[in-house]
Amino acid sequence: MNQFVSKGIVLHRINYGEKDRILTLLLNDKGKIRVLAKSVRSNKSKLAGGIELFSESTVGLAKSRSDLYILTSGRLDRHFGNIAKDLQRTMLGYEFLKIINKLCEDGSGEDFYRILLSSLEGLDDPEIDKEVTELWFNIQVLHETGSLPNLQTAPNGTDLEQANMYSFDYDSQCFTPNNRGGFSQNHIKLLRLILSTKNPKKLVQIENIEDLVSAAHRLSHQLVEQYVR
């Protein structure tokens, strides 16, 4: 059997037979795979089975004759325990897993590993507002899927710095100058900054970010609904 060890995050779990589980894992080096975890439901810990949700684990895997890998070992490296302390963070956590699961094809999606890990770290950190983490996640996912709106120019090609206020045009996926628009230059700067940051924690340092997050978050959420889900 071809055996290897990787770091992975559980995206999904379903039960298989009386004692087994099929896990969908996102590995940091191999992307999305499906794994048969044998007899994990026969021990006391049905919800854990050695591989927890909202965790990063080191997993030992062996290729089987079918599409499934076999889980040979699992060690919990980091458990993002603060997520489960808050229902809305829990819900967001599951949404992140669901979106990433949907976006990744089997055998690919390593690029989403970093996004997912940083987003779970963000949800786990009570210093970071959950809306900020969701905004960061949405922008990263939109960028990775090629669905990020134009953050540089208006539809007519002019630089976005030239107007004070903007509205967002869904047809052209651009910000257009509009004195009655809901977005300022600071919103656009925030979106650009999010693209360049490796994790949501960096955003907490921005002064008065709370004033900007709401509108940006609403927009990002609508775009994810439209292009990703």
């Binding site: 006391k44 810990s45 049905k46 919800l47 489960a84 229902l87 829990t90 599951y94």
Partner: protein
Amino acid sequence: MKILLIEPQNDFARVVSKSLELGGIEVLHASDAQAAVHAAEQGIDVVVLELALPGHNGLEFLYEFRSYNDWRAIPIVMYSHISSEEAGFNAEIYDRFGVVAHLYKPTTSLKKLEDSVRGAVLEPVR
């Protein structure tokens, strides 16, 4: 009818159980999500669930519970001191998990709980 009451406060669970049992409803009690998954194997008709559970919370229990094919049609009655507004739940979430009622403990009498539990078995879970 047999229900699974998932309630971390043992003394409160005793009161609720007694009340339902007086109405002829058999009650299995589990005080956390882990124990609840084990208890459900005994065969139940309805789950009565407190969201604020120690360890894995009620939402995590819902995801886990619904991943078992045999249990997909069992209705859930949320009976929690977290209201639906505070939880941030909407109709889509309730539909997704087959939650037929979300009862806020401070304003739900034992009688209303019993009526909801009886009503739950009559409502199909999609």
